[in-house]
Symmetry: C2
Subunit: 267 residues, 2 copies
């Protein structure tokens, strides 16, 4: 009796932003949830799918803003489930990719609350689709490396990323939360051995009507404009075929090609 009256926590991937890119399962869970605890930046069009009686709470932690702590969030999920409610913990993209999922799983397991993970389309995959590129290509990219440029993942140690093992010309590098210090990132990747003419693309708000892209090369990465969050940086030969949606005149692309033509060929 006690068991059947306990609710369940669903750790759900909201995907990159387009409601059409929710999974069928996530779509149903959102409609049926009693409580939705969501990250910052989940678009209104997705939250609007919730049922009329659902309690919807933004539990996001924007940099610098004073908000709910991880412990408070965990306690809230657990308390709601123990009241018999079905809780959707809605995370941007996929919960298992830079979603701080592990901390929440630990808390749910320790509390003995039943839970389930519903995967989502992660931003890197959505960005590739919108750019008309494959992340792997048997001619140019035999692997995909997913990393974060932002140290929020590791706020205790602020340890430096070792870019040397990531700087491979046969990989597509997908950098989540790349931050704004593109000059430092460029210098580190060039020092690690990536060629200056390798294509680099920043995609802001992938899959939404506000999507913007900026295509260039690693050498010019320091000239990247400030773009709206969430944004993602992709680097690799596989990006050479990227087609831009937000710049029909392809001016950034043309300037990148012109610039690359002036560079000596490497690697």
């Amino acid at each position: 009796m006690t068991r059947t009256s306990t609710g369940k926590v669903f750790l759900v991937g909201a995907g990159p932003g387009d409601p059409d890119l929710l999974t069928v399962k996530a779509h149903r869970l959102l409609r049926q949830a009693d409580v939705i605890l969501h990250d910052d930046l989940v678009p209104h069009a997705i939250l609007a799918l919730a049922g009329p009686h659902a309690e919807i709470v933004n539990v996001g932690k924007r940099c610098g803003a004073k908000g709910i702590t991880q412990d408070e969030l965990n306690a809230r999920m657990i308390a709601a489930a123990r009241r018999g409610l079905d809780v959707v913990r809605l995370k941007n993209g996929d919960p298992a990719i830079f979603g701080r999922l592990a901390e929440e799983l630990d808390a749910l397991e320790a509390a003995g609350v039943p839970f389930e993970i519903a995967p989502g389309i992660t931003a890197g995959i959505a960005a590739a689709a919108s750019l008309h590129v494959s992340l792997t290509d048997r001619r140019t990219a035999s692997r995909v490396i997913i990393v974060t440029g932002h140290h929020a993942q590791d706020s205790h140690s602020r340890k430096k990323i070792d870019w040397s093992a990531l700087a491979r010309e046969d990989a597509t590098l997908v950098v989540y939360m790349p931050g704004q210090d593109f000059a430092a990132l460029r210098d580190e990747l060039l020092a690690a051995g990536l060629p200056p003419d390798i294509p680099a693309v920043i995609v802001s708000r992938a899959s939404t009507p506000a999507q913007r892209e900026w295509l260039s090369t690693l050498a010019q990465l320091d000239a990247a404009p400030r773009m709206e969050s969430p944004s993602i940086l992709l680097i690799g030969r596989s990006l050479a075929r990227a087609s831009l949606k937000s710049s029909p005149e392809h001016s950034a692309l043309e300037s990148a090609i012109a610039f690359a033509a002036e560079l000596p060929l490497r690697g």
Copy 2:
């Protein structure tokens, strides 16, 4: 007039197998398609979503089987679109992850046929969700490396994978099409510096009712049983918390823990 009578090719991710893990968009495209050209191993439950008049063709290339060539497949997609039909080219998982997408994009662009990519849940992400693990963890895994163990991606050169840059204890390694030669893979990863006690999990047919898992350590990887395709291998500290669905008695997990306890600690 000519333009409006041309159909469109949708390169669609079928996800890992569970129809519930299709995106809302993929679900709709499947229902509306005139022609569906699908990979091997797309489950019947997904193909059954097609409309009653859709033409459904398996264009998969099983190893060793004589089938349709890439050129024939490209020609078929293009011809159908030129007849004014909407074509869904349905790929397992996500099209941009080891889906031979680039070749098809080249052909479509060269032919001037309109196309769109609809992303899907890739198998590694579905496997992680089913195992109740996060692929990143700020304590143990700062990056995710996606690679294929199978050389079908690169059948011309059969070049060796350089595992040294992949063998990092702070990464989660996701190996698509890992093949069956787990003894050789274990030896290469140990030689590249990964510790023998690092958790390794094989997930077969992730997200389907036939899902099976085998959890062990890198040192014991050579003892992996033969499991049904498609399967995926995950290696990393983040897998230490994996919970198995298909083995409620957790015997493999217990044996792995007992084995790991006998090993000297490294790294």
